[in-house]
């Protein structure tokens, strides 16, 4: 019943089709950017950039270069920590049919730092004017009409995949087995906890600091509130020592 994305970074060419298609569909304005020495632009997710392709280059021990692409977006966690951290009724909801985690206009009343801090992937952003907290909404309007999310529709490479959870998990596992033949470090990121499952061919840290959740994806409400003045991530790191 719940929908799931499978994002195969071994097929991604970082064309930014998904990044731009999302903005185009939602009519989000461009943000001012500068060339700061990278193709990653804007440098981070913003309230007008809900999907961002991240670039990271490395030089391996043998001198070979690797260039990893990570088309970042909200994971639509099965048990979303941001939803657990919410204190405003109806601000953060989860669609029963699709599993999409949705931020409504009521998020303007939330404490942004708490919501952002609760997310292990550092996804939520705030519109400075409306104070609404925003992120990917799984193109729920398109799903209602039987259409694919815009990022998935725009991807020609087969990097972005979307469908029923069982089908996507099956595809993810098949691809993992295939990729592992040449890339033994390949792994799926938090496949049991999220509805957006990434396949990477190397250490996730080489893709993005928050590619994979470090600690448990869910805490009790009491534990969350105990760290109310510290971002969740720091709390987890402290817990892990």
């Amino acid at each position: 019943m719940p929908k799931t994305f499978f994002i195969d970074t071994t097929r991604c060419t970082a064309c930014r089709g998904c990044q731009v298609a999302c903005k185009e569909w939602k009519n989000l304005p461009a943000v001012p950017t500068k060339q700061t020495g990278t193709h990653q632009n804007p440098p981070d997710l913003t309230h007008f950039n809900l999907k961002l392709v991240r670039f990271s280059e490395h030089v391996e021990k043998n001198g070979k270069v690797s260039w990893y692409f990570f088309p970042d977006q909200c994971r639509h966690c099965l048990e979303a920590p941001c939803k657990q951290a919410s204190s405003v009724e109806g601000a953060i909801i989860q669609d029963e049919a699709t599993g999409a985690v949705i931020y409504t206009e009521k998020t303007a009343q939330e404490d942004f730092e708490i919501i952002r801090g609760a997310c292990p992937y550092d996804i939520p952003r705030q519109n400075p004017e409306t104070k609404r907290i925003v992120k990917c909404d799984m193109c729920s309007d398109r799903l209602k009409e039987g259409l694919l999310p815009m990022c998935v529709k725009s991807c020609a490479m087969g990097a972005m995949n979307f469908g029923e959870r069982a089908e996507m998990l099956d595809l993810a596992r098949k691809r993992l087995a295939e990729v592992k033949k040449a890339k033994p470090k390949a792994q799926l990121l938090n496949p049991d906890d999220v509805a957006v499952i990434y396949l990477v061919e190397d250490d996730p840290k080489k893709y993005h600091e928050f590619a994979v959740a470090q600690g448990p994806a869910q805490l009790t409400r009491k534990e969350m509130l105990a760290g109310a003045f510290a971002p969740f991530r720091r709390m987890v790191q402290a817990m892990q020592g």
């Binding site: 064309c15 461009a30 193709h39 632009n41 280059e57 020609a156």
Partner: protein
């Protein structure tokens, strides 16, 4: 392309060189990744590590401009290790032909070079003929003057050491590439070579392509599924534009433009129609008189072709009117007016300062475009004083592609019809409407007032392109297809005057047929608009190679993989049965699969029907700079010599003597190349106006290695200045290990790269930067004139 886009899926080895397809032809990677799913190997050779390299199995660096060394080394490797597909090479290429004993190659020059004119007399680049006038063939390949032996001899200099020395590619990487690619020489394996401007934009550009074609012929990769020699065209319809001859030297469908000495159609036909005495050679261009007569009837409906031939503009003997020459002449005041139609020469042409300055000599310019741009606004650009510019510019705003109905011909020769989407905004018009209105008005003016040589204008028929006084793309598509102008019986079938010709096989030389472009004959027939078809049905044999023969229409005659007769043995049996292109059905006595190349049963005809001999050309006498590709440095280069000969540069390259070129000039010590990104397109004229794209790639940048950055004290993200002998520009530095210094002839050679997507006009505050072509030289390939914008010399320093 000899093949087509979906065919990439069926390759065993995809070799990208001179292409950054993942970035610039992203949809190609849809098919290439599916080939990888089936076990294919992806090879990428490039001066940089790009988004294509990130998806490749094998990546190897090479210095910009050193490609022929790589290809020569691969040819040598294939021959020495006997990895060529022998049966294919003997039967289908000109390997066995015997070359004229006067042909010689000495220290970088071929026989027939004239040092004064800097041109070759090609009279020794011929084949020995027997008493019947048929080329002598030694299928034992023992004759020392057999093409294959001359080939072996020519590339014996291209050892791994020497190739590595000049390219800067480590030997082990060369071997990795060679081994992987040469494995496609097996009869049932195929390799595809994908290229773009990285191969063509050099003073040896056409020879680069020749070298790849030769490799493909040696490996038996031409005419087969997943093979071929595949140009990835840079615009959605540039294939269409070259087919319809938007180039100075050809008429529609690749007929040579007449020269002054062709004072009649008969003389033109005599000089331009190849002959063959070999009954097995189809020699397709023997039909040229039919195509010329039909073209003339399409352009000038009333007069006989013999009369209207003299209405065609003619070039002087030896005249080169290619792009670089054109702007050079413009700068000398040779043009009153200039139509800059759907192009932005102020940014796209090499040597922007020269181009922009040239335009100040014009009395008028008509600029047809969708936005204001650096070309139409040249007179108020950087360094210009509008008060001193006399040019009157007429800006005609036009519709964008999705607002127009008509066809687009893609890299795979596929002509696809498109309906119009939204209505054009305001008073913008489709180009066809503008052209038709203009032509009709000009014709009316000539009719009323007369004028110099009015006959061609008055004999043209722009009204015939319209319906209710508006341009009608269907009408034009039909004119291009062609009509019977008289009732005629061909074989058992009667054809009525005024009906559409079903195939170019029926075009006539006597003026009884018309066709605006013979290769498109068959695209719009009495059965309808073939190019509008979206039918996915196909036979299982066709489905196995994703042929989709009923989806739209490809030239010629809807053949999807050309030279496909080479995909079967002389008995008509496919070499690769699991991905057969054609096969001989002995019962039906017919070919099945794709449309076969040339008539006749198995073994009856040589497969390469467009050459007069009928064989794929390993020895290629058709180019002006040599029958074998030979290594030369780019005209601006970082070394004073190379290992292959004493001849540093292509002696026939297009250049302007008075213009300085940097050779080992310490003022310009670094190699520079220009390229593109996914997010922008061409001069960036359209994409800079798209805010989401500009957000992703906002400014001119320069990619450089950490080693070069250290040398110049440059930090990542800081502003730098690039300078060449022609101009300078600023860029933001991207310091990245994806670029590496090269070890060339014992010295360290640094290379940088810049995109050519920016121009001063927009963003209006100049924040984007200006054209990469401010740096590039006015030098070009001697066959085509294409500028060498992929390898030239610059300096880079902190701003």
């Amino acid at each position: 392309m000899t093949n087509h886009w979906t065919d990439l899926k069926h390759s065993d080895c995809v070799f990208l060189i001179g292409s950054n397809a993942a970035e610039n032809h992203p949809i190609s990677f849809k098919w290439i990744l599916r080939a990888r799913d089936k076990g294919a190997t992806i090879i990428h050779m490039d001066p940089r590590f790009t988004r294509t390299s990130a998806r490749a199995d094998i990546h190897a660096y090479l210095r910009s401009g050193s490609d022929i060394a790589v290809f020569g080394g691969l040819i040598s490797y294939i021959l020495e290790n006997k990895l060529f597909f022998k049966e294919y090479v003997v039967n289908y290429t000109n390997a066995a032909l015997v070359v004229n004993k006067d042909y010689k190659f000495t220290d970088g020059l071929f026989s027939g070079f004239d040092d004064t004119s800097k041109k070759y007399d090609k009279k020794s680049w011929t084949f020995d003929l027997d008493e019947n006038g048929v080329p002598v063939r030694d299928t034992t390949l023992k004759n020392p003057r057999c093409v294959i032996n001359l080939l072996r001899q020519h590339y014996s200099r291209y050892t791994l050491d020497k190739v590595s020395q000049i390219t800067g590619t480590p030997k082990e990487d060369l071997l990795k590439v060679y081994k992987a690619y040469a494995a496609t020489g097996k009869p049932d394996k195929s390799g595809t070579m994908l290229y773009a401007m990285g191969q063509t934009q050099h003073t040896v550009g056409v020879q680069n392509i020749r070298a790849m074609s030769m490799i493909q012929l040696l490996l038996g990769n031409v005419g087969v599924a997943g093979g071929g020699i595949n140009a990835l065209r840079g615009e959605s319809n540039v294939q269409g534009s070259t087919d319809h001859a938007l180039l100075f030297h050809i008429l529609p469908a690749y007929n040579p433009v007449p020269r002054a000495s062709h004072d009649s159609l008969a003389v033109y036909n005599e000089k331009n129609t190849p002959k063959s005495a070999d009954p097995k050679s189809v020699n397709w261009w023997q039909n040229r008189p039919k195509y010329m007569a039909s073209l003339l009837k399409a352009m000038f409906p009333a007069p006989e072709p013999a009369v209207s031939f003299n209405y065609l503009p003619k070039l002087d003997e030896g005249q080169n009117a290619s792009w670089l020459k054109l702007f050079d002449e413009m700068g000398k005041g040779k043009f009153k007016g200039f139509f800059a139609w759907g192009m932005n020469p102020a940014c796209s042409g090499a040597n922007s300062n020269k181009t922009r300055s040239a335009m100040t000599s014009l009395d008028w310019m008509v600029n047809v475009n969708i936005f204001e741009n650096e070309t139409g606004s040249f007179w108020k650009g950087p360094g210009m004083d509008p008060a001193k510019v006399k040019t009157e510019v007429f800006f005609l705003p036009c519709a964008v592609s999705i607002e127009k109905e008509g066809s687009v011909s893609n890299s795979g020769r596929l002509m696809q019809w498109r309906y119009a989407g939204p209505k054009p905004l305001g008073e913008t018009k489709p180009d066809g409407d503008i052209i038709a209105e203009l032509a009709i008005k000009v014709k009316a003016l000539y009719a009323r007032e007369g004028g110099k040589f009015a006959e061609p204008i008055l004999a043209s028929d722009p009204e015939g392109w319209t319906t209710n006084h508006v341009y009608d793309p269907h009408k034009v598509a039909k004119i291009i297809n062609g009509y019977f102008l008289k009732d005629v019986k061909i074989g058992d079938t009667e054809y009525k005057a005024g009906t559409l010709v079903p195939s170019f096989a029926m075009l006539q030389a006597d003026g009884s047929t018309s066709s605006g472009n013979w290769i498109y004959c068959g695209s719009y027939t009495e059965k309808g608009n073939m190019t509008a078809r979206r039918d996915k049905t196909q036979t299982p044999m066709q489905a196995a190679i994703d042929l989709y023969p009923n989806w739209a229409w490809a030239w010629p005659v809807n053949r999807r993989i050309i030279y496909n007769r080479a995909s079967v043995d002389p008995q008509g049996k496919p070499y690769a049965p699991q991905k057969a292109v054609i096969a001989w059905d002995a019962e039906k006595k017919a070919w099945v699969g794709d449309v076969v190349d040339g008539g006749g049963g198995p073994g009856e005809k040589h497969p390469f029907i467009m050459t007069s001999e009928g064989f794929g050309r390993l020895f290629g006498p058709g180019l002006v700079d040599g029958p074998f590709p030979e290594y030369y440095e780019p005209l601006e280069c970082p070394v004073g010599k190379h290992p292959f000969s004493k001849q540093l540069h292509n002696p026939t390259a297009l250049q302007f003597k008075e213009e300085y070129k940097a050779v080992c000039d310490p003022k310009f010590p670094f190699v520079c190349s220009t390229y593109r990104v996914t997010e922008h397109w061409q001069t960036g004229h359209m994409t800079r106006h798209s805010s989401w794209l500009l957000e992703a790639e906002p400014q001119m940048f320069c990619e450089m290695s950490p080693e070069l950055a250290k040398l110049r004290g440059i930090q990542n993200g800081e502003k730098v200045i690039l300078e060449s002998a022609r101009g300078s520009l600023w860029a933001m530095a991207i310091v990245t290990p994806r670029l590496k210094p090269f070890k060339v002839m014992g010295t360290t050679v640094h290379q940088v790269g810049i995109p050519w997507h920016f121009g001063w006009q927009f963003p209006e505050n100049g924040a984007g930067g200006d054209a990469a072509n401010l740096l590039t030289p006015s030098v070009g390939d001697p066959n085509t004139g294409i500028p060498e914008t992929k390898a030239f010399m610059v300096n880079v320093r902190k701003a």
